[in-house]
């Protein structure tokens, strides 16, 4: 009998906090500068220097904690984590041990955070909450480059504020890990607390993964996977590693606890450090830094900066505005788009139609003209007005596209364009009846076909009416009138 195994996954996410200067010194934070150009005695760990914490990094970490539903304790502190490594200027990292800024909390996995190919799976619609253990604030290390026999160290990155977000062993599949990281990244970026660019190393993730027979309580032996630089890479690495572990275990083998490296090119994990040296970090409170009291202004400031989470926003769009679930998730995932949408939808009778026009016509116009939303020539109120004209039947959707093109080119208001172009749709029954009478007289064959129940003939006649009206007639109305006249409505003759 084949045993069924389940994976248990926990993530440690390191995320650079968006600040202008480093965590404990005034050097600028930056990427792509020449090596060691962004350094000073403090971030080089020179003899005699002292750290002074960047208040902004602390507020942003608390802000993140509040967004993720963490508990923020009144007293927090910085500790030293002691270990030797050439990328660490002091050979200890200023971090937080037993009194981190944030505890608990979680991230809810919405369907559209899952990879596209997994969005229809049951786990994607389960709205699972992945729980966090903690979020603490620490300093980033330097970047090493490896040569044949030596390594070179660039301390530009050293001392950049870094949030470490640790999950519980709550994640049950590579897809959930993908969804967690996608949802988390979205929140961090939208809140403005991090740029979270994985390619720039602003968001890095280590995975702890083990497998166990389904139903077993105890965890299996875990491995840690490092070196993943994209969210899809995390998914691939986990899938590979889980399969590897299941293969080992089901063949009666044992997993050795080790750190493994992911190679995205060959799609395999391999042993990085097998003989894991017992970590003895000798944490102790950093005597150079004073305790943090969050109730002394920090929490208040973080609260004032809170944003609506993308998930909550999408829910609101579907629930209150009738937007489709998919459209809502797309709109909510981009704060600029969401802001534009909300401005356009404000006071509108058909937010759903606005969402639709925005996501299709407006976004493709922006894309083909290579413009950002911030450069969009069409104002939200004008979009609302345009959709209102369609809904009122004053222009048809084809005309709407023409009007929109003009709006996008000139920035003019839709009503003005409709007037100038004489596009106003004719919904005057009398005028359409006159045209319909003309068309019915001129095309006896198709008229007979309509009587015989051929729907295409009605479309043909409607088209003729449209032609005569130069496209201004309300096509729905025209079709109704023709049908009624042919059926011998006494009112017609």
């Amino acid at each position: 009998m084949k045993t069924d195994y389940e994976p248990v996954i926990g993530l440690e996410v390191h995320c650079q906090v968006r600040t202008r200067s480093k965590m404990f010194c005034g050097c600028r934070t930056g990427f792509g500068e020449s090596p060691n150009a962004l350094t000073c005695p403090v971030c080089l760990g020179h003899p005699g220097v002292l750290p002074v914490p960047n208040r902004e990094a602390i507020v942003r970490t608390i802000q993140t904690g509040l967004l993720l539903g963490c508990q923020i304790d009144e007293y927090c502190k910085f500790d030293r984590k002691n270990y030797f490594y050439p990328d660490m200027p002091k050979n200890y990292q200023i971090s937080q041990y037993d009194m981190p800024l944030c505890r608990g909390g979680g991230v809810t996995l919405d369907r559209f955070s899952f990879p596209k190919d997994a969005q229809d799976s049951p786990e994607a619609s389960a709205r699972k909450r992945v729980h966090l253990t903690r979020i603490h604030l620490e300093e980033d290390v330097a970047k090493s480059t490896h040569f044949d026999t030596t390594s070179g160290i660039d301390f530009n990155r050293a001392g950049t504020p870094l949030m470490e977000i640790v999950t519980e062993a709550d994640i049950a599949s590579p897809e959930e890990a993908f969804a967690f990281l996608t949802a988390l990244r979205l929140i961090l970026v939208q809140a403005g607390v991090s740029d979270a660019d994985m390619e720039k190393g602003q968001l890095r993730c280590d995975c702890n993964v083990s497998v166990r027979p389904r139903g077993q309580k105890a965890f299996g032996t875990k491995c840690e996977i490092k070196n993943m630089n994209s969210i899809s890479g995390v998914r691939r690495a986990l899938a590979y590693e889980i399969a590897r572990q299941i293969e080992v275990v089901s063949a009666g083998g044992r997993i050795t606890q080790e750190t493994r490296r992911w190679d995205d090119d060959i799609g395999q994990t391999s042993t990085m450090r097998s003989k894991e040296e017992a970590h003895d970090y000798r944490y102790f409170p950093d005597p150079d830094l004073m305790p943090i009291r969050t109730t002394d202004g920090l929490l208040e400031e973080a609260r004032a900066r809170l944003i609506e989470l993308p998930g909550a926003r999408a829910d609101r769009y579907t629930r209150d505005l009738g937007v489709t679930e998919y459209d809502a998730s797309v709109l909510a995932s981009d704060p600029h788009l969401a802001r534009f949408f909300e401005a356009a939808a404000s006071g509108a009778s058909n937010p759903k139609g606005i969402a639709n026009f925005l996501l299709n016509d407006l976004l493709s116009a922006l894309a083909s003209s290579e413009k950002a939303l911030s450069e969009c020539p069409v104002q939200p109120a004008d979009l609302r007005e345009l959709v209102g004209l369609i809904d009122a039947g004053r222009i048809n959707s084809k005309q709407a596209k023409e009007v929109f093109r003009e709006m996008f080119e000139t920035g003019a208001a839709p009503a003005a364009i409709v007037r100038a172009k004489g596009l106003e749709q004719v919904s005057d029954t009398g005028a359409i009846e006159a045209l319909a009478r003309q068309v019915i007289g001129a095309h006896p064959g198709p008229v007979q076909d309509v009587r015989d129940g051929k729907a295409s003939a009605l479309n043909f006649l409607t088209g003729q009416v449209m032609k005569l009206s130069k496209g201004k007639a309300n096509p729905k109305l025209a079709s109704e009138i023709i049908a009624r006249m042919i059926k011998g409505d006494p009112l017609v003759r």
């Binding site: 020179h46 005699g48 200027p89 050979n91 102790f284 005597p287 150079d288």
Partner: protein, 482 residues
Amino acid sequence: MSLPLESVAALRAQLRAGEIRPRDIVAAIRERVEAHNPALNAYVHTDWDAACAEADRADIALPLGGIPVAIKDVIAVRGQPCTCGSGILQGHRSIYDATVIRKLRGAGAIPAGRVNMDEFAMGSSNENSYYGPCRNPWDTSRAPGGSSGGSAAAVAGGLAVVALGSDTGGSIRQPASFCGCVGLKPTYGRVSRFGLVAFASSLDQIGPLAHNVEDAALILGAISGHDPSDCTSVDRPVPDFAASLEGGVKGLKFGVPKEYFIPGMDPAVERAVRGAIDHLAREGAEIIDISLPHTEYAIASYYIIAPAEASSNLARFDGVRYGHRAKDPADVIDCYARTRREGFGSEVKRRILLGTYVLSSGYYDAYYLRAQKVRTLIRRDFDRAFASCDAILTPTAPSPAFRLGEKLDDPISMYLGDVFTIAVNMAGTCGISVPCGFADEGGGRLPIGLQIIGRPFGESTILRAAHHYERTTPWHRERPPI
């Protein structure tokens, strides 16, 4: 011309009268150093040309305008070597100025010369120095004390007008006592530690060593004050210390702790300190008996906290960014381990091992946390004492200067010598040592220090008491035989 190198006030008077120029003072110091440093080994680096150039730019209208200050080799001065008396920092030059150096310069002073010390300020004899021991000007076969031995010997020997030292467990006061000069450890947070190479971050303070209390007050005034670059510096107004020296001791109440007069202490020390207490009583001070009951635990808790912090502070000396690096390392770990073996001396290694041990997995609560709780008790002792007195009188050290080599292989006996100074660092308060007599030893005379301990940020009171004591006793006028 002989200059009054033992008094900042006298030098300022001559400078302002136009009788001398700042570079004359530097030249006079240089002459003394060239004559006597070979015997004392107080200075480990000098650059007289640079000091003269700086002297020529000095604004003598400033409070310390044109006054050279000897700097302990643990305080960063941009462009100058900063080696902490260690092999591991050979060749290292600071790329920035310590806050105290900026402040001294702002007051017109000239950082001139770097003085010897126990390696990384770990020691009480200045024998743990890469440069070899500094010697006591009263008897060159004896230790000047430590770790600021070079600062004390330079001042006492007339090789410096004033000096900066640092005090983690008595490292300013004990050498001042051994060499017969004035040494003040400010309240923790009074003086910025930015640019002071950390030994034990929660205990270290920079302070002055001087020929007299007034000079110590002037230097303290110049270097004190809040520094945004040091989170442990306290934002508190700095009184005019020099202006508060007068006022005498009438109306002051001094506590004498029974725990500080212990069996086995040197009889000459006990006699001198008792004499000083009686003298202050005659001058109108009120003397009361007090108790600091946790004194006996101060050393034990200090020798947990200080090495623990040091083990972490000294981890940065690894040969990657600066300092010594072992030749042809096999790999990174070999590079670290050999660099540190070659660069550090025995005492530093001993304390790194001790500190690493007490922080290592499973021992934190039993050692570091416990020691921090004892620290609370020691602080409470002082709080309670200061509820009934204005300052506390004790010996600075249990003995006068001991012979070089005498305690080198017996760390415990060396550590126990700090018994009267350590509690002040643990409590974070201030203390000053002033000469209060001499012990006759084998034909020579060795100075003895009186320690006056003040309330946190109570430097004005102890300076005033020390100043009155100094003015009404002859001890500070005595000069060593060199």
